[in-house]
């Protein structure tokens, strides 16, 4: 006992312990982390198992271990499909930080691989929309003019004319789409997260969805007229007219008036 205790109190012991721990962590990471070369969109059985574990650790406290949901707390996830999981977890909305009118966007909590594992497990519970392919969401393949027509008939009443966002009732809101990725836009249309209605493929065809993405992507070119003032319409324009335009001019009247002859 005495000898062991003495060795444990050796001066180098803490350093050795840290080194040993580092080696252990690196080893586990090297074995556990799937190599990127192996990643594929097809969900394997392993992914489903890993997804179930992640779900139990991070989501089950609200949605239940069987993902059936709880009344008044969280909805059932059976049949929502991989697209919904990719959207909700991939934009950081889930896991939800605090209950409120609406789950806001926040830093994403999982790696893309983990999100796909979660999606694979949820998709295995019941058939639902899948994550769209790269071609389906490619803005270059869409028609922005048709996208404009689809967008303003179906989306603009909540998200604003070019997707700058807008308010809904009781503290809920339609978020700005100007920073959202094409895949997430597509998934949102397909699954109708939170207050948003579902726009299924019969309602808005996959081609029209891609046109909408092309229209929103076109907005990243910026406004031809200069700075867009938030692209929220005449209210911000009026505020700027008073504060900047009239403000500068009144400041100059005071300057001219101060130079009294």
């Amino acid at each position: 006992m005495h000898a062991i205790a003495r060795r444990r109190h050796h001066r180098a012991a803490p350093l050795l312990l840290v080194l040993a721990l580092l080696a252990l962590i690196t080893g586990i990471a090297a074995v556990a982390a799937p190599s990127t070369a192996q990643a594929s969109t097809e969900a394997s059985a392993d992914d489903v198992v890993a997804g179930e574990r992640l779900f139990a650790a991070n989501c089950a406290s609200c949605h239940g271990l069987d993902a059936q949901g709880q009344d008044g707390v969280a909805p059932s996830l059976v049949g929502i499909g991989a697209a919904a999981v990719d959207f909700q977890v991939g934009t950081g909305r889930m896991p939800m930080q605090a209950s409120g009118p609406q789950a806001p966007v926040k830093p994403v909590q999982f790696s893309q691989d983990q999100i796909e594992q979660l999606a694979a497990w949820v998709a295995s519970l019941g058939a639902g929309p899948a994550i769209p392919t790269a071609d389906e969401v490619d803005p270059a393949l869409g028609d922005p003019a048709n996208g404009m027509l689809v967008f303003r008939t179906n989306c603009a009443m909540c998200h604003g004319s070019i997707g700058g966002g807008g308010a809904l009732t009781q503290g809920k809101f339609a978020p700005s789409l100007l920073e959202t990725t094409p895949t997430h836009i597509y998934e949102a249309m397909l699954t109708g997260p939170q207050s948003m209605p579902v726009f299924n493929d019969a309602n808005i065809t996959p081609e029209m969805k891609r046109d909408v993405i092309a229209y929103l992507d076109f907005q990243s070119n910026g406004s031809p007229g200069g700075l867009s003032l938030g692209a929220i319409g005449p209210v911000s324009e009026g505020l700027w007219a008073w504060l900047v335009l009239l403000g500068l001019i009144i400041a100059s009247t005071i300057w001219v008036g101060a130079r009294s002859s």
Binding site: A167, T169, Q170, E237, L246, T253, V256, S261
Partner: protein, 572 residues
């Protein structure tokens, strides 16, 4: 060379003068005296933004096609390729993207339109708070007010011309308001739109109103407005030597012509700067008009927001009763005409008639050419601030969705808050402003009677402390004592000695009540007798104290010097 030029100039002037006798006018205008203050330039901002509007507007009419004929877009803007639209919208896109400088001119036009109304309002506030609307200028106040209303009309008719979704939604609301007027509403709407909304007539009609009718009226009224300014002479801020019978200032030529001319370019420069940096009314985002889509953030330009605010605030049910009635098969939309017609009409009516309301309360029939300091008319200043608060609350309610989104608030809570605030905050603002004004007047009295504090305190040998006050100079005193001291009206009794009721008693009683509301609570200006007494009492002590303090200070210095001398000797 110089002599040649001079000869040519005087020759031309002489030639013109001999045929028009214009020399007298030029002399009259050039020698017209104007007082100097920066706040007198606020109206100029409105005038100059109107000139910018005329200049840029002429450019825009060269490319705009006021037609609702359907075409397919073939221009360069990607999100409009092949989209069906009216010629009005297509020509707006063409002006923006194909005409060189077209977008800049469009943005200059729209920014200066927003500036035009804002400058008119600020100018109106200056006139209101300084009492520049009093006799003989009541009619000019009315002309200015009409210009404000015409400015709104010019803005609204122009806003709709591009025929985009946003302005179309605004037009639809106007159509709804017109249809909400009982009996004549539906007919008026049909007459205006040439049939059921939207029809194909409204754009050409709005165009005529926007480029001919409304600007023509504005131009005529501006001429009248300025003519009356020349006729009445300009008002001046109070000060020594300024009275209701003179104007202290500088002649129009050369200083003011240079200042005003230069100021036009300052305004134009700032408008051009803002227009080249910030997008305004991006119709290419909204798309061509189609009655079905409405986008979030659909609002009018800021000057119509208050009507939108009233509509958004008005409850559908009031005390358990609906605000929309159906009587004998006819719908009576009180929920539209009350917020969108009656309340704005009352609000504007009070503003238009304000000079007369105040004249009833003062009973003063003299001409007023010296302005009031806002503190010296606490009730008027309070009413003005209450009106501003009322208006700003409506503007905020009109943008309630933007406010909710920006500050992460509930849209519903904002509306409920505003429904209470619109009744509670304006009276509160009135009361606070009135108290502040009365406080400032008391401070003025203090200053006049006791002078400025100098921070010097003198203690006498017998232990008394005296603070030295510096009396105000003549200009400072004049500014603080020379204001109208109105007292509530005294009226003749209801019945004469024979017990016969007097005609006009009720009207007199109304004026008396109004007058009491204005002048019951007031701070009297310092009278010469009070000033004399205060000078005698305080000034004496203060003057003594001052000389004693000076004496003590010199004694101090002497002692210091002696001490230093002794100190130096000791060190040696």
């Amino acid at each position: 060379m110089g002599a040649k030029l001079d000869r040519a100039a005087s020759g031309t002037a002489n030639y013109v003068d001999e045929r028009t006798s214009i020399g007298g006018f030029v002399k009259f205008f050039a020698r017209k005296i104007f007082p100097d203050h920066w706040s007198f330039m606020l109206g100029e901002i409105a005038l100059y933004s109107f000139i910018i509007l005329l200049l840029s507007g002429v450019f825009l009419t060269a490319f705009y096609v006021p037609s609702m004929t359907e075409v397919h877009y073939e221009g360069p803007f990607a999100t409009m390729h092949g989209v069906e639209m009216t010629e009005a919208f297509a020509s707006t896109l063409k002006t923006s993207f194909e005409v060189p400088g077209g977008l800049l001119i469009r943005q200059i036009h729209h920014w200066s339109a927003l500036l035009f109304i804002a400058a008119i309002l600020v100018h109106m506030c200056r006139v209101f708070f300084t009492g520049a609307f009093r006799k003989p200028r009541e009619l000019n106040w009315l002309v200015g007010f009409t210009l404000f209303v015409l400015g709104l009309a010019a803005g609204f008719t122009g806003y709709s011309l591009p025929d985009d979704v946003l302005s179309g939604n605004g037009l639809r609301i106007i159509d709804g308001i017109i249809k909400g007027v009982p009996l004549i509403g539906t007919y008026t709407s049909y007459w205006l739109f040439g049939g059921e909304y939207p029809g194909v007539d409204i754009i050409p009609r709005l165009f005529t109103a926007h480029i001919l009718l409304v600007p023509g009226l504005i131009l005529a009224l501006i001429a009248l407005h300025l003519f009356l300014v020349f006729l009445h002479k300009h008002t001046q801020y109070p000060g020594g030597g300024r009275s209701h019978r003179n104007v202290v200032g500088l002649p129009l030529f050369p200083v003011y012509t240079a200042k005003a001319g230069g100021f036009f370019f300052v305004v134009f420069g700032i408008v051009a700067l803002v227009a080249s940096v910030f997008t305004i009314n991006p119709v290419w985002n909204y798309g061509p008009y189609d009655p079905s889509p409405v986008s979030a953030g659909t609002q009018p330009d800021w000057y119509i927001l208050f009507v939108d605010g009233l509509l958004r605030m008005w409850p559908g049910w009031l005390f358990g009763l609906p605000t929309e009635w159906e009587l004998w098969g006819y719908t009576l939309s009180l929920n539209i005409i009350l917020p969108a017609v009656i309340v704005p009409a009352l609000f504007f009516g009070i503003i238009a008639l304000y000079p007369w309301i105040e004249a009833w309360a003062t009973g003063d029939r003299g001409e007023k050419h010296v302005l009031d300091r806002p503190r010296n008319v606490p009730v008027r200043t309070g009413i003005g601030v209450a009106f501003i608060v009322f208006y700003v609350l409506l503007v905020i309610e009109g943008s309630n969705d933007i406010v909710a989104n920006l500050f992460h608030l509930s849209l519903n809570d904002i509306t409920i808050f505003m429904q209470w605030a619109i009744f509670l905050l304006p009276p509160l603002a009135f009361w606070i402003t009135k108290r502040i004004c009365l406080g400032l007047q008391r401070k003025d009295r203090e200053l006049v009677l006791h002078g400025h504090e100098t921070g010097t305190i003198v203690r006498y040998e017998h232990g008394e402390y005296v603070e030295v006050h510096e009396p105000l100079d003549a200009q400072e005193t004049w500014l603080r004592v020379s204001y109208e001291n109105y007292t509530p009206l005294e009226i003749e009794p209801e019945r004469n000695d024979h017990g016969v009721a007097r005609n006009g008693y009720r009207w007199d009683r109304f004026k008396q009540r109004l007058s009491r509301f204005y002048f019951e609570e007031r701070i009297e200006p310092v009278t010469p007798a009070e000033l004399e007494a205060a000078r005698h009492h305080h000034g004496g002590a203060s003057a003594h104290g001052k000389s004693d303090a000076a004496e003590a200070e010199s004694a101090d210095k002497r002692l210091d010097a002696e001490w230093n001398e002794l100190d130096g000797d000791a060190k040696k």
